[in-house]
């Protein structure tokens, strides 16, 4: 299927499936995103429910990462990026005039594609967020937060004897789990993950996927992934993006067994990359 064909299929498209949920954590309504003159997202409306893992999938350049980054206003760091529409976190518009990105990003944390530990020790990497947000009153409390976060990220046993070694000295998979520990140390409500396993080997990937499943008990997670197996393994709902359109949102099982939209079917059966 080529682009011209697929463009016809999504002209004046209304998202098919069930984009809305009952127990809402984040709700996005009529979101348009522009990079300068170029529009990257067209009128996307989507709910992310409490304690669910939602996977955002789609071919390269479809806007899934852009959409993810609008959820904690990471796009603010790009000068030419503009966002239209409403994104509500617990019914509060995060693009409102008085919203400060600092507490917002503490509530909606992010894990990136490439592990990006700071040039600090393992301990300081995890303690970074709690320190800047003043979450610990004492050294003991900070130690507890660090230990708890590393344990929850499944990294504690591997690093407990070298907490003061540089975080950059860890392996790729360990670095990514360190970044997850760093994110959960701030005790966010939502964690956004932008292809967190794309730079990792299969074993490290499996560990992270396991971790995502455990984290669901406490957090709401939105994950962008290129791997459909990964989406199928970790998520409850899946949203399929195509050329900036939110094509279909459905329970993961349904998307991968009986997709409603032709484009979704074409994508999951591997007809575009």
């Amino acid at each position: 299927m080529n682009d011209t064909n697929s463009m016809k299929l999504i002209e004046n498209h209304k998202t098919t499936g069930e984009p809305f949920s009952k127990d809402v954590k984040i709700s996005a309504r009529n979101v348009d995103v522009f990079y300068g003159e170029k529009q990257a997202i067209y009128d996307a409306s989507l709910d992310i429910g409490k304690n669910e893992v939602i996977a955002l999938i789609g071919p390269s350049g479809c806007g899934k990462s852009t959409f993810l980054r609008t959820l904690n206003r990471m796009n603010d760091t790009i000068d030419i990026c503009r966002v239209k529409g409403d994104i509500l976190l617990d019914n509060e518009n995060i693009y409102g005039a008085h919203v400060d990105t600092v507490p917002l990003r503490a509530r909606v944390g992010m894990v990136f594609q490439k592990p990006n530990p700071f040039p600090k020790s393992i301990y300081d990497n995890v303690a970074y967020g709690p320190r800047i947000h003043g979450l610990a009153q004492s050294r003991v409390e900070l130690d507890e937060i660090v230990e708890k976060s590393l344990k929850r990220a499944g990294l504690w046993n591997e690093v407990k004897d070298r907490l003061h070694a540089p975080g950059t000295g860890l392996s790729g998979g360990q670095q990514q789990r360190l970044c997850i520990a760093r994110t959960i140390a701030v005790d966010p409500e939502v964690i956004l993950m932008d292809e967190p396993c794309s730079a990792l080997d299969p074993i490290a990937t499996a560990k992270i996927e396991e971790l995502i499943d455990e984290l669901r008990e406490k957090y709401t997670i939105a994950i962008v992934t290129h791997s459909m197996q990964q989406a199928a393994r970790v998520s409850q709902r899946t949203a399929y993006f195509h050329l900036g359109q939110l094509v279909e949102v459905n329970p993961t099982e349904k998307v991968f067994t009986k997709p409603e939209h032709k484009l979704t079917e074409a994508y999951i059966t591997g007809r575009f990359g």
Binding site: M74, M110, F112, P119, Y128
Partner: protein, 457 residues
């Protein structure tokens, strides 16, 4: 035929060899043979073999010709002359050269055999020289031409020769450093024969005036260099106190906060500071800043000398700002965006991100930039000479006039000097100390950079 025309001929032969080699290789491969290397590699190999030995011969000849000819000439001098002091022989030899150049006029008949010998030698050596170079050229050309065959591994051989040439080039830089060090060491050694090194390094009185005649009163000269070191340190310190914070902060502004438009104009504008000649900074320091500080000090009831360390240090600091800011700006820009994103993603403010993530990540580069600025400050001469004065006061008071190592080196060597007096030789001892100091600084900077590299890459 002189040296330069010989050189041109060798280069022409070299170019010819290239085409000859390439065409022969092509011709062979047209016969259906499979060549080991590409035709132009055979050509290059031919050119290298033709040119390099001949050029080495020419250079070696240039270096060795004079001593050999001199040696031959001395043999032709009158016996009485040969027994004279080396300095006198040298003088006579140069006389012989002059007489040979202006043929016909001969005031001193005793030199005639030597002069005639020189003229004859000159003719012969030229012939010999060009003959040898050109025949070497041609022999190598023919030999290499014969060697061209499908089995000749031209590329491998060519790369070996190029490798050797590259090695020789880097050797030149190293040898030059060793040469400079050796010459400074030699002169410094002579100085330390006259003045005790301990007195030089730890003496607190600097007054390098030496009596010209043995019976002259006073001034036997004292060479305690501590006031100079102290002055250098004081002025460099003032300069760094100005340059490091301002340079670093402007780098942070330029790389993190400035819009691309501001950056486009502000960065070159800042770099203009680095292009101003130091003499001009010297005017500025001596004629604008120093009087300003003096007036200001007088208003506050302080006694400020009209040439002060503060004025020189301030202006030097301004001069160094672009070194710190431009280099730091580059390293800060090189910090990956993913680190900033990671920090922003945790809800850090821009300020926290810069202070706790960006700057630590850029630290090795920033330290390097600062070390470079320090060496620059220590080596700076003109501003200090114009604004801080020549008085070797041992003081920590920035309002006093002080002097630095570099300024003293200049004053010691300016004008007509005898090169066996401790006054002149002291300059080399100071130079040696300066050289070692910057060497140690560079070494330390390198170690610091390496330490952080290992930790954070």
């Amino acid at each position: 035929m002189n040296f330069s025309s010989l050189l041109i001929i060798v280069l022409i032969v070299l170019a010819g060899a290239y085409f000859l080699g390439r065409n022969r290789a092509r011709a062979i491969s047209h016969q259906g043979m499979r060549m080991h290397s590409l035709p132009n590699q055979y050509g290059t190999l031919m050119a290298l073999w033709t040119g390099v030995p001949a050029l080495i011969l020419l250079v070696a000849w240039q270096l060795l010709e004079t001593p050999i000819i001199n040696h031959l000439l001395i043999a032709k001098l009158p016996a009485a002359m040969q027994a004279a002091e080396p300095a006198i022989i040298e003088l006579t030899i140069s006389k012989v050269y002059n007489l040979a150049a202006s043929a016909g006029i001969n005031a001193d008949p005793s030199l005639t055999p030597a002069v005639e010998h020189l003229i004859a030698l000159n003719e012969r050596t030229l012939l010999l020289n060009s003959g040898m170079a050109l025949s070497l050229c041609l022999i190598c050309l023919v030999v290499t031409y014969k060697r061209i065959s499908p089995n000749l591994r031209a590329r491998v051989e060519m790369e070996k020769i190029v490798n050797a040439l590259l090695l020789a080039s880097s050797g030149v830089a190293v040898l030059t450093t060793i040469g400079i060090l050796a010459s400074v060491l030699l002169e410094a050694w002579m100085f330390f024969q006259i003045v005790n090194p301990l007195d030089f390094l730890f003496g607190t009185s600097w007054s390098p005036q030496v009596a010209l005649r043995a019976d002259q009163a006073g001034s036997s000269g004292s060479f305690g260099a501590v006031p100079l070191f102290a002055g250098t340190v004081l002025i460099s310190l003032i300069a760094m106190i100005i340059a490091v914070p301002i340079g670093l902060m402007s780098a942070i502004y330029l790389s993190e906060y400035a819009s691309s438009n501001v950056r486009k104009y502000a960065k070159p504008a800042l770099e203009v500071l680095a292009g101003i000649p130091t003499v001009v900074y010297g005017f500025f320091a001596a004629l604008t800043v120093a009087p300003l500080i003096r007036t200001l000090g007088a208003d506050l009831g302080l006694d400020v000398s009209s040439e002060s360390a503060l004025a020189a240090g301030l202006v030097m600091g301004i001069m160094i700002i672009p070194f710190v800011s431009s280099l730091s700006d580059d390293v800060i820009n090189a910090v990956p965006q993913s680190l900033r994103d990671g920090s922003f993603g945790l809800g850090a403010t821009k300020n926290e991100t810069i202070r706790q993530v960006v700057i630590p990540a850029a630290l090795p580069g920033i330290v390097g930039a600062i070390m470079l600025a320090v060496s620059r400050a220590i080596g700076e001469t003109m501003i200090v000479a114009m604004a801080a004065g020549l008085a070797a006061n041992l003081t920590a008071n920035p309002l006093d006039s002080v002097t630095t190592v570099t300024v003293q080196i200049v004053t010691l060597l300016v004008g007509d000097q005898e090169f066996d007096s401790p006054k002149t030789l002291a300059a080399f001892a100071l130079g040696l100390v300066l050289f070692l100091t910057t060497l140690i600084l560079n070494f330390v900077a390198l170690k610091i950079v390496q330490k952080y590299r290992e930790q954070y890459d």
